[in-house]
Symmetry: C3
Subunit: 272 residues, 3 copies
């Protein structure tokens, strides 16, 4: 297992070396933060909503991040196609199913995406992941609600197998699984929830990592841990008068200054 | 009147306790700042432009903020409906009529909104509020231009009565009225105008407050004063080299650290 | 030439005095940064995507910045018309052809814009400017690839003449030419590339300058140098722990605090 742990530290090094172009079809709330965190980690962001250029962009991009946070008509009509082009070209696709399950329209879009696109990584909070877990069950068997499962690791493992993907569940403890391996990440702090877009930025880090590293499990686990570490560093500097304005700035700064060594010193990941 | 003053201080406490979900249909310039200020004050932001999910979102949201800053075809076609659903469900709707009167298209959208939706609070600068004031007059009587009125308080009072709403006019002195009560808020500083979106963020604070407090006059007055106080704190820290980058960060930080006590120490509100 | 150098320093003073309204039709990634840098330099930003109000806005705006970074259907259909209205009203139009040449859709939009609109300034990086340089050649003669030209100054000069415009090429050394005069700007630092939108913000500065100063060559040269100086100042403060979060804030702060004197002390421009 020590081999894998070292690989985690190498993810940041690989991103810096390969400088992957990360194509985002993402929400307009946090689109700037996603671009800046992608630059901070050493990759190159490219954002577009223009269906006519998806194929051109994907021909030279290294990965695709789909974030449905502010899905509108344009996105709902084009995003499945974008994922399919990426699949055809062999570029990893990351899904951030923001608010999946919160509304019928989001549930439908996520179902369409899961039916039509193969994802390298699906990253969401527990509510979003549970909502995805319920999709097949409600249609096929109506049983096995997520509550029946022992814990997040079981849900992540089962979903990863079902969709032949890596599942990353963010929460108090983050869980990443490819259906076989499981990483439980104890980095992080509740103050990350005080800044909008830390989830979206995590997906950008996953996209950056998957654009540079073939093992998407390792890529996703390292990326999720990076955001947790950035939160911890921000918390260290938290003092009277600090707030989410400062935290947001420090998250970017910490990712900018992340090295393999700093990552290995700070990571708190259980591998199994 | 001391009773009301205390209620003003309780607004921040109520937001922190109830953590209202504030649904924004807003502009893309300041959408990220609106999300972060909503988190800073203790509420939970939710942004969507997707008409198909408005009803679902409003079923669990606590309030709706409509900001027409970058209104496009999609927004102009869907936003009245959003307001009407909120009305039907009894959720307070806040209008930020950005640039009302500056263009014919904005004037028309504001007229449609005022005709079709009941607003809990309408917040704008004097030019925007005067533009709204002129709508009915030009149609019905062609008289009573805003200039005839003695001052901002009279305009706010008259408009609040006309639309059965709370009017919040921001400016050198901010004025809030429900048609009966008037709050004149002397907090604030011109440097707030150096940061884009301080007006939009004020509307998000009003939305957060109205999602937690039933008395929308008190909610709006407290929210407007909070932004003024945040500007004052930013100005205190203003030194050689500071600029609107730093001010923007400090506004969020100050709202993050706002408490009822700090609010009461800093507020400079005349109630009548 | 000393006369012109002094004029460069006067650009910032003119912006502060005239406070031009800079209408942006721009991308959603950096729209907030563009608004804040416009405020920082002393101008007034106005963003809209609503075709129906373009004429109204342009009637009172001082300049128009077109940035195609996240061009979508709406923008592609309306942006040429916006440029033509500005031309008709005599308002300078600035083009930031983000990613020109990277995709067929972008190339087509840039061609449509160049065919239908007269630009006061076209600002891009070398790849974008070379892509524009190739448009007429590939259609008319198929020769004279940009590589044939001695250097960036020759490309800028030739393009400026072809389109009767000012060309601003950003890079290690920035080059601005109106077809006759050339400014080579040695300000700047690679860390500017670590922050998303520094190119877009430069276009906003150019738009602010062209809204205040009639000589668009001088306006563009001063604006491009300002961003370079802002990067240098950010680099001075760069220390362990700093990153693109902090740099972004400092860019805005430096532009906020720019004066004609500070500009003249820091500018490193070769005029010829």
């Amino acid at each position: 297992m020590e081999f894998e742990r070292e690989q985690l530290g190498n993810v940041i090094t690989s991103i810096r070396e390969k400088q992957p172009i990360v194509f985002h079809i993402t929400n307009t709330v946090t689109i700037n933060d996603c671009a800046n965190i992608t630059l901070a980690v050493g990759a190159s962001p490219l954002m577009s909503f223009c269906e006519e250029e998806f194929e051109d962009i994907l021909s030279f991009a290294s990965s695709l991040v789909i974030n449905i946070g502010t899905m509108d008509k344009q996105m709902r009509e084009s995003v499945v196609k974008a994922g399919q082009i990426a699949n055809k070209l062999g570029k990893p696709v990351i899904l951030d199913p923001v608010g999946a399950g919160a509304t019928k329209a989001r549930k439908e879009l996520v179902e369409k995406l899961l039916a039509g696109v193969h994802f390298a990584v699906i990253k969401g909070n527990m509510a979003e992941i549970k909502s995805i877990y319920g999709i097949q069950n409600s249609e096929n068997r109506g049983v096995d609600s997520a509550e029946d499962l022992e814990n997040g690791a079981e849900i992540a493992k089962a979903l990863a197998k079902r969709y032949d993907t890596v599942i990353a569940v963010t929460g108090k403890q983050d869980i990443v699984s490819d259906g076989h391996r499981v990483a439980k990440i104890n980095n992080g702090t509740p103050i990350l929830a005080k800044v909008t877009g830390t989830g979206c930025m995590t997906a950008s880090l996953v996209g950056s990592a998957c654009g540079a590293v073939r093992d998407y499990f390792t890529a996703a686990a390292a990326a999720v841990a990076m955001m947790g570490i950035a939160g911890e560093k921000a918390e260290e500097h938290y003092s009277v008068g600090s707030g989410n304005g400062t935290i947001r700035t420090e998250i970017l700064d910490t990712i900018c200054n992340m090295t393999a060594d700093r990552f290995m010193e700070s990571e708190n990941i259980e591998l199994s």
